[in-house]
């Protein structure tokens, strides 16, 4: 299997001089096509920073980042934007759905941005995802009328709409009760496995981590397999 992601000797810190805090230091990481990996670690250990770097949302100080064999640091901002739109799907701890849009519009938003319009294929795929997340009857609902679990399911569908190469999930159920979290974990796992999707999920949940192929830990600013 080919690598989707390859990080070599990545370092990232904040501040300068005495106030400098190293978050990641000489970190190496690989994620293969269809691999479902998780990262567990203490708060402040750098998990989210790593996720932001992988999502092209944040810069790193040194090292090499290859995404599908392409050097990320050489991409211009416009190319990074296109890359994010087409190759990466995000799921955050809070759903971060746009409340002005309906459930269906929220799912379609990345596709709209990718194509400049909503194609019939995108619509069909969005309907398929709605079916899979069992929210077909909530298609035209406003976001504020959904429960926490339903919102997170919509966020998962949104992350999948552009058929990205990589899904990055940051504590996707950190904000939900145990019962709802378990349902979401199963749904999420089924959805990504069915699509042979590469996934990296940052979580505190041992239950979610147990569903993944590989578990990593952040120890001393580096990733180690647990």
């Amino acid at each position: 299997m080919s690598n989707i992601i390859e990080l070599k000797n990545i370092s990232k810190g904040y501040g300068k001089g005495r106030n400098r805090v190293e978050i990641l230091n000489g970190l190496d990481f690989e994620l293969k096509q269809g691999e479902f990996a998780s990262i567990i670690g203490k708060s402040g250990s750098g998990k989210t920073t790593l996720l932001n770097i992988l999502g092209l949302l944040d810069e790193f100080d040194s090292g090499t980042f290859l995404f599908k064999g392409r050097k990320i640091e050489s991409l211009k901002e416009k190319e990074r934007n296109i890359f994010r739109n087409q190759e990466i799907g995000f799921i955050f701890q809070f759903h971060y759905l746009l409340k002005e849009l309906s459930v269906f519009e929220n799912i379609l938003m990345p596709a709209f941005l990718k194509e400049g319009k909503i194609s019939s294929q995108a619509k069909a795929y969005a309907l398929e995802l709605l079916e899979e997340i069992e929210l077909m009857d909530r298609k035209e609902y406003k976001i504020e009328n959904l429960s926490g679990g339903e919102k997170q399911r919509v966020a998962i569908a949104r992350a999948l709409i552009n058929r990205p190469a990589l899904i990055l999930a940051d504590e996707p159920t950190g904000n939900l009760d145990v019962e709802t979290s378990e349902k979401i974990h199963t749904l999420f796992s089924n959805l990504v496995r069915k699509r042979n999707q590469s996934v990296l999920v940052v979580t505190h949940s041992g239950e979610l981590a147990s569903l993944t192929d590989i578990q990593y830990k952040v120890v001393n600013n580096k990733l180690t397999k647990s």
């Binding site: 932001n52 999502g55 949302l57 944040d58 901002e77 416009k78 934007n81 296109i82 994010r84 739109n85 087409q86 995000f90 955050f92 971060y96 746009l98 409340k99 002005e100 849009l101 938003m109 990345p110 709209f112 941005l113 990718k114 400049g116 319009k117």
Partner: protein, 389 residues
Amino acid sequence: MKLLFFIAFRHIFGRKRQSFIAVLSVVIASIVMTVSLAISSGLDDTMINSMLSMMPHVKAYDSVMSISNYSQEASTITSIPGVKSATPTYESQGILQFQGGMGNFVTGVMMEGIPMSGSSTAFNLSNITVSGSSTFPTMGSVIIGKQLAQNIGAQIGSVVKVISPADQSLYLTVSGVFYSGYFDYDSRVIILPLQTMQIISQSGDVVTGINVQLNNPYDAEKIAPIIASKTGLLTQTWGQQNYNLLYALSLERTVMILVMSLILLVSGFVVAVVLNTLVKEKTRDIGILRAYGFDRGKVLKIFMLEGVILGIIGLIIGGALSLAILYVLKHYSLPFLTQAYYLVKLPVKLTFGDFMMTVVETFVIILVFTFMPAYRASKLKVVEALKHE
């Protein structure tokens, strides 16, 4: 672009109260600007038209204010293209005395002597005479202004005494009353037959000047030199004669536009405040849009669009309301507004140029004020925007 419009509209209609305030500020500003400009233009126009109704568009005279071959000069001037009429006139200060039912009145007047045959064309009298006749039935007739008639209590058929600077006096019968709309004329000018004027002034068969009316008064500066070269007389256009007044009107208008622009600035500021709040509220949404590939330019465009849409809605409503207000002002007399200014109705004149100036100025101000919050939104860092609570 479709998506940007979509999001911009959703933001606007998702926050109805704030959007309403922003639109309202643009509506008020554009109404104030448009209505003020239209009334100002209308008043200026009325004043100039009233002035031009009696004032010669070009006055031809010689250095001693005594033209003897005036009939010949008048016909030479009449032959010049663009000239409507040329009337020999004898002009002089005088005193008018009237013993009426309300008492004895004495007042200073400006006496204008014009040929009996040319009375209707000389001061446009046929159009502005409101009672009696616009021509002289006899040599002993006089036509006076409406305001003067009211002041002294004279009416058609009243006999007034006119005294000239040569200390000659005559009793004349009021045969007509005119209303030019220009207070100074209506309260001070009396018009009498030229021969009567020459007799009372003891001037002989001369005139002080030739009053030239043009087809288009705004051609005066062009035609005056032609008159001068063909007759050898000196000329003065209505614009030169009223230079100070016209300059004051122009200055007043410029100052008014500047002051009104401050109101537009306030409306732009309101839009900026509303957008600024929106940017704060939508920081996390901006983060998520950016995470999903929106570039900075698109974020900038969304918020610029929102400002522009609010501005356009405000301008459309403001424009429509302005037209409605101007229609009411134009067609209905509002005594509390008109009485103080010697007017029957408030004159309004909305030119396309004035209207466009309001639209363009508002639009530019909204664009400028919208740019700052939009730029701020576009500069947000994705990670920080996503962390925003």
